[in-house]
């Protein structure tokens, strides 16, 4: 008999797990624990709508319409989980209280990586949470010169938001072509050109050797010997999964919390979202995936399996999907590409920056990118889920 379910992590995955448990009729005690003081909010708008000033921070909150009464949650916000005792089925919180559970869902997410040995100072910022976005937006108000360390999706979205506000911005990316490990070099080049056309000073193939300034950031020094002034320095070099609180628990930690295909890290313990490495049948591996949609899918899956129990669990299989909004362009990407995959543009063109591209490895379709062509995705999502051949993808049918 399931009476108590605890969810650690009160962001997207944690919330969706709670909603799914109630959707499926779980009427026992449901505790949602989050280390931020805020109710669950949506992260994608932080780098766009919030930074650009189109949204107030409160607009990112989930369940603005439905509220939380119907979920009947015991919400413990602003308090960190510090350890779990799997034998006693008990989570210890930083305020000295404990939460007992029959099932545990872990969704503690990830936090921004920082540059080693770099002292914190005014104007040196990251973007992950709502408070980060509020701080960065405030810093952007004074018309500063912005330097962004890291030309990944978060860095490039922040760059686009800076340009939307008319701020001069420099992006420093270690790779010769930004995003090339994810999108391939051809489309990475196109994204780079788009940013340069919008006035971003994009410097590739160099790394930051130092952030200048003592109590506040004043500039950046690069590996090519150059240095430039900046009032705000944003670090966007990836994230680290929040697993430290699980060390010594007996759970397997290896770049995230390792789970089987049921989303189970140990009997009765499930995980979802950025912290989790759930075996994914489509992927043939247990990757750690940091996408919005993955957090939802794994949360729903974990919640359903937590209720079903080991005998009735389903295996996770999902084609990864993410999107990124930059200027007036939306990149949507489904599947998983590698740098040497063949890329074929099957609709639109690089020149128009409106296109559908397919990725081939051997005789398989492995990914699809749609740039301002959202309707294309429906077809290729189906083909990817069906593990379609390259020939079938080109003819647009799953047969053969």
């Amino acid at each position: 008999m399931l009476r108590r379910i605890a969810i650690v992590g009160a962001s997207l995955a944690g919330l969706r797990a709670a909603e799914t448990l109630r959707d499926r009729g779980f009427d026992g005690e449901l505790t949602l624990i989050g280390d931020e003081p805020h109710r669950p909010y949506d992260r994608p708008p932080l780098s766009k709508q919030v930074l650009q000033g189109a949204w107030e921070p409160e607009q990112t909150f989930f369940r603005k319409k439905d509220g939380y009464d119907a979920l009947a949650l015991d919400m413990r916000l602003g308090v960190r989980a510090v350890s779990v005792d799997l034998r006693a089925r008990r989570v210890a919180l930083a305020d000295g209280t404990n939460v007992d559970y029959d099932r545990l869902i872990i969704a503690t997410g990830a936090r921004p990586r920082t540059i080693p040995d770099m002292a914190p100072r005014t104007g040196l910022l990251v973007l992950r949470g709502l408070d980060d976005a509020i701080a960065l937006r405030r810093a952007m108000m004074d018309a500063p010169r912005v330097a962004i360390i890291g030309g990944g999706f978060i860095g490039l979205e922040v760059a686009a938001s800076c340009r939307a506000r008319g701020l001069p911005v420099t992006v420093i990316e270690a790779l010769p072509v930004p995003l090339s490990p994810i999108l391939g070099p051809t489309l990475g080049d196109m994204v780079a050109a788009m940013h340069r056309d919008h006035g971003v000073d994009l410097r590739t193939g160099v790394v930051v050797t130092d952030v200048l300034g003592e109590s506040r950031a004043t500039g950046v020094a690069l590996s090519d010997g150059s240095r430039f002034d900046a009032d705000v320095v944003v670090v966007g070099i990836g994230v680290t999964p929040n697993t430290e609180w699980l060390e010594g628990s007996g759970l397997t930690i290896d770049n995230g919390l390792v789970c089987n295909a049921s989303g189970e890290a140990a009997p009765g313990v499930y995980a979802a979202g950025d912290v989790a490495r759930v075996a994914n049948r489509w992927h043939g591996d247990a990757p750690r995936i940091e996408h919005w949609t993955n957090a939802v899918e794994q949360a729903v899956h974990a919640a359903e399996n937590a209720l079903a129990g080991p005998g009735a669990s389903t295996s996770f299989s999902s084609v990864p999907y993410f999107w990124s909004d930059q200027y007036d362009r939306r990149i949507q990407f489904i599947g998983g590409a590698r740098p040497h995959d063949e890329i074929r543009i099957v609709d639109g063109s690089l020149a128009d920056r409106k296109l559908t591209a397919l990725y081939r490895r051997g005789d398989r379709l492995v990914a699809c990118l749609a740039l301002n062509q959202p309707h294309a995705l429906i077809k290729y999502r189906k083909l990817l889920a069906a593990d379609a051949s390259w020939k079938a993808a080109l003819s647009g049918t799953a047969a053969s």
């Binding site: 969706r16 439905d66 939802v296 729903v300 999107w323 959202p374 309707h375 999502r381 889920a385």
Partner: protein, 63 residues
């Protein structure tokens, strides 16, 4: 249950079409169509999934 879509919020991610193809469709006109406004209870789990997966929160259910 009644499916309500706020089309002003729809960004055509298409995840609802994937979750519940019986209920949602994106037409050649590039607009999301609700094929079944009051789907049978048997579709409940699929429709719930569509609601949960919509990145813009454009889909809601009324009892």
């Amino acid at each position: 249950m009644k499916v309500v879509v706020d089309l002003s919020m729809c960004d055509l991610h298409g995840l609802c079409v994937d979750a519940a193809p019986e209920v949602f469709q994106i037409g050649d006109d590039g607009v999301l169509h609700v094929l079944l406004e009051t789907p049978a209870d048997g579709l409940r789990a699929k429709v719930d999934k569509a609601v949960r997966e919509c990145p813009t929160g454009a889909i809601s259910l009324e009892e």
